[in-house]
């Protein structure tokens, strides 16, 4: 019997199922699939669910529901299938987010390429054709951590922090990409700039992305990004979407 998955209580706020001790694609897939399965079970005790990189959280009021009872039900669900092999949940979206690489609007493209051992053109070619998945959302509302890029992009975070990258910046490190929700200091390298807003609190659909969605970042010219910024008020930033089945 392996150590994984592990079920732990989270204070009195719920239970967490963790599938692995480090980030991996199958463990992330398992977390997403388990969340979908728990949602489908519709247990009245579960008020909400969420995932992080390799774990699934069930919000349950443990002052009202005995943890053992939820644990038993969860164990039964966990034993019902091989989660690392589970298909990704349906109802996901594939997004194509136009991105300007490099220039003064994304000034660390060349540096990131050098750390990855690529020339800048090849770095842009790889980043603009890679298809990544929303592994988790966090740090700020709607902010996606996406991956995994090829091993080439297993580059460390910078030692020092960039004082501030703007909202909608595309940054890279450790085989992952992030689109920043808000202006923020970061150790990740700023390689691209989009006009895609991940959190739109005034909109009917405040969050653009859901965990499990997939994205590509096709390259555009600076003039196109400026056009998008000028005329797009929706926050969509010219992104196109298609349903994944």
């Amino acid at each position: 019997m392996s150590d994984w998955p592990k079920i732990r209580t989270v204070g009195l706020s719920g239970l967490l199922v963790t599938f692995a001790g480090e980030m991996s694609e199958p463990a992330n897939r398992a977390a997403l699939a388990l969340r979908a399965a728990v949602e489908a079970e519709n247990w009245p005790e579960v008020s909400e669910t969420s995932t992080s990189l390799v774990s699934t959280f069930l919000a349950v009021d443990l002052a009202a529901i005995r943890p053992e009872e939820m644990r038993e039900r969860l164990e039964a669900l966990l034993e019902s299938r091989d989660w690392q092999e589970a298909p990704l949940p349906p109802g996901r979206t594939l997004w194509h987010v136009p991105t300007l690489y490099g220039t003064d609007l994304a000034p660390q493209l060349e540096e990131a390429a050098a750390v990855a051992g690529l020339d800048p053109d090849e770095a842009i070619r790889q980043l603009s054709t890679a298809r990544v998945r929303v592994l988790t959302i966090g740090f700020a509302p709607g902010q996606p951590y996406m991956g995994e890029l090829s091993e080439t992009w297993n580059i460390p975070r910078q030692k020092g922090l960039t004082p501030s990258v703007p909202p909608s910046a595309l940054v890279v490190a450790i085989r992952q990409l992030i689109i920043f929700t808000n202006a923020s200091p970061t150790g990740w390298r700023h390689v691209g700039q989009t006009a895609f807003r991940t959190f739109r609190p005034e909109a009917k659909r405040p969050f653009a992305l859901s965990p499990g969605d997939e994205l590509t970042f096709p390259a555009i010219a600076r003039v196109e990004l400026e056009k998008l910024r000028d005329r797009d008020e929706s926050g969509q930033g010219g992104a196109e979407r298609e349903a994944l089945s």
């Binding site: 009195l12 443990l62 988790t136 959302i137 700020a140």
Partner: protein, 342 residues
């Protein structure tokens, strides 16, 4: 929606708050809500209305307000010197605030967050299912002088009521349960953590409260290998500087720092209200004990409405004391007229 209350002068951190905005954790937004939700229940009990209604949260100090309509108000949470057109008002009580009257609330004296409630609640447009500002998440923001707040329809008329607030203003012992990484701290570290009190650091806000202590910081080897995972309000996170932070309602949804324990939800208002420098200590309880404490807390909140009593006027606050017929009210030479009715 018409203006009910205009902010003439605002303290540094004033926002509309309710019981929070659940349901968005998967998308990176925590529930947020009042730093001291007990105050919302107390305000609702005083005004005879639903606890879900929004109120004004004031961190550190209050402000000056003008009523634009005849209002009922209640004052709860950390006590602030309160006057209505210069006349002192009791805290933990409901009052009338006639149109044109000016309400002035001073600095918080015994806690960190004071609350001003309106009859009918603050009726701003709900956003994503709530009215509260989530400052860290960028939903809503701080209020400033010149802004006006609408009130909902007030169905009750009674004022001049008071209650004894639930005890949470003096720091002291805070009960916690084991958390995700509690086991990874060695026993001497855990003994030190529970054995000596902390001081509530000046660094505290709606996201978290830093705790300070003499001596070395806290650490565990496990810190290096945590894959970012869910964090919840109440979690006591050991940050890179070795100091514990108690996460509050506006914390992030996930984190990668080790957590040494989790404050029970019923104890979190005590952490929120502790003044900078106040002493806080931690004691682990088993899950069963935690459930009992939480059940008692829920019962205390539910019982609040039954504890509301008429406010007896404090003569110190009577500007026109000489115009009162004091003798006429005296029926006993020994009874204390200022004792609350039970």
């Amino acid at each position: 929606m018409s203006a009910a209350l205009t902010i003439l002068q605002a303290g540094p951190s004033m926002s509309v708050q309710d019981l929070g905005r659940p349901g968005y954790r998967a998308q990176g937004l925590t529930r947020g809500g009042a730093a001291d939700p007990v105050a919302l229940y107390e305000g609702a009990a005083l005004l005879g209305q639903a606890s879900e209604l929004a109120a004004l949260e004031m961190a550190g100090s209050g402000g000056t307000f003008r009523a634009e309509a005849d209002l009922r108000i209640a004052l709860t949470g950390a006590e602030m010197a309160a006057t209505r057109d210069g006349e002192a008002l009791a805290w933990n009580a409901s009052h009338s605030l006639p149109a044109g009257a000016t309400l002035t609330l001073g600095g918080a004296r015994n806690g960190s967050y004071g609350y001003l409630h309106l009859g009918g609640g603050i009726d701003t447009e709900p956003r994503m299912g709530g009215r509260g500002a989530h400052l860290a998440g960028g939903v809503g923001g701080l209020l400033e002088a010149g802004e006006s707040l609408p009130a909902g329809r007030d169905r009750d008329g009674e004022v001049g009521l008071t209650l004894t607030p639930l005890d949470r203003f003096s720091g002291g012992e805070v009960r916690i349960v084991a958390s995700m990484q509690t086991d990874s701290f060695d026993s001497s570290t855990l003994e030190r953590f529970t054995g000596s009190p902390f001081k509530r650091d000046a660094r505290a806000n709606r996201m978290g409260v830093r705790l300070a202590q003499e001596g070395p910081g806290y650490s565990t080897e496990a810190a290096l290998s945590i894959v970012s995972e869910v964090v919840v309000p109440g979690d006591i996170q050991i940050a890179g500087d070795g100091a514990p932070y108690v996460l509050m309602g506006e914390c992030q949804t996930t984190g990668g720092y080790p957590r040494i324990g989790t404050v029970l939800p019923c104890e979190l208002p005590r952490v929120a209200q502790a003044l900078a420098g106040a002493s806080l200590s931690f004691r682990f309880v088993e899950m069963a004990g935690a459930v009992r404490l939480q059940a008692r807390f829920a019962a205390d909140l539910a019982a609040l409405r039954g504890t509301v009593t008429p406010l007896l006027r404090d003569p110190a606050g009577m500007r026109d004391l000489l115009s009162y017929q004091l003798i006429g009210g005296a029926v006993s030479a020994t009874a204390n007229p200022f004792e609350k009715e039970t």
